[in-house]
Symmetry: C2
Subunit: 161 residues, 2 copies
């Protein structure tokens, strides 16, 4: 199958007052979340990312620089003159986004079953991430919620039709 | 600030045996998740997506066709000869991905507070989506889990280093 489009000029979403757009501005690139996935798997070195992802060196270097400049990775000197890439707190906080992507892919595109399973170290079981309400603890999905303007809303904040 | 790259040739991730890559194959495009966001806000018509997103008509038409062909939207004739776009079950199941993106953007890029807040209709409170383990119900984050090969693993399935 052909990709949607062979070439795309990206708009910057930096000025859009929407937190989804802010995520996309930093991480909404095809390779970025695969780099972050591998970082959660313990990959830190350029050569390991490159080998596992099969991505061109210049693209990988661009993405890593971008992610460092946006505070998702920090660089760490592991021996004099050589540094690798470690997730920051902001980077580790992408875990739920990545997990939600994986679970969606498992549900809708993994005919032979999930390629990878998650084990909850605390209880030892194969587990799914399940979402509950922070206020009352009940299970939550899209049908159970509505949205309203928040404290950071501006004139261009988008609400439901 | 300049976007990362002005132009990118996208590889297809369709053949990669990774559910994150499968998500990215279908929805890993800068506009796609904003279209899906607006669909959760009740937007169904081409002209409404176009006005709210400020996206070029040809790009929007491409993305909607792509999302219909991948079962995220279905087309519905709302009057003879005119149709709009409605999220399928597969599309509605993107809610957690979208919510995780929004919460990350709120936490790290919303200096003035969240532009939009979520209300849990069941309890009436402003709420965050909190993740718990499907097996034991305990709160879960990236440090609490490990991964292993699942039933759909193949030779090219990637595990931790």
């Amino acid at each position: 199958m052909q990709p949607i489009i062979e070439s795309v000029r990206r708009s910057s979403f930096e000025d859009v007052n929407c937190s989804v757009a802010q995520f996309l501005e930093v991480a909404g690139d095809w390779w970025t979340m695969l780099i972050v996935r591998d970082a959660f798997f313990g990959v830190t070195r350029f050569s390991d990312f490159q080998r596992r992802l099969g991505v061109a060196r210049n693209i990988l270097a661009d993405r890593l620089d971008w992610l460092v400049s946006h505070g998702v990775f920090s660089q760490r000197e592991y021996q004099p003159g050589r540094s690798d890439y470690v997730l920051t707190d902001k980077g580790r906080d992408l875990w739920l986004v990545l997990t939600a992507m994986r679970q969606w892919g498992d549900r809708w595109h993994a005919e032979a079953g999930p390629p990878v399973e998650m084990i909850h170290k605390g209880c030892g079981h194969v587990a799914q991430a399940v979402v509950v309400c922070s206020a009352c603890g009940e299970a939550l999905d899209g049908r159970d919620v509505r949205v309203q303007l928040g404290p950071g809303a501006t004139d261009d904040s988008l609400l439901p039709l």
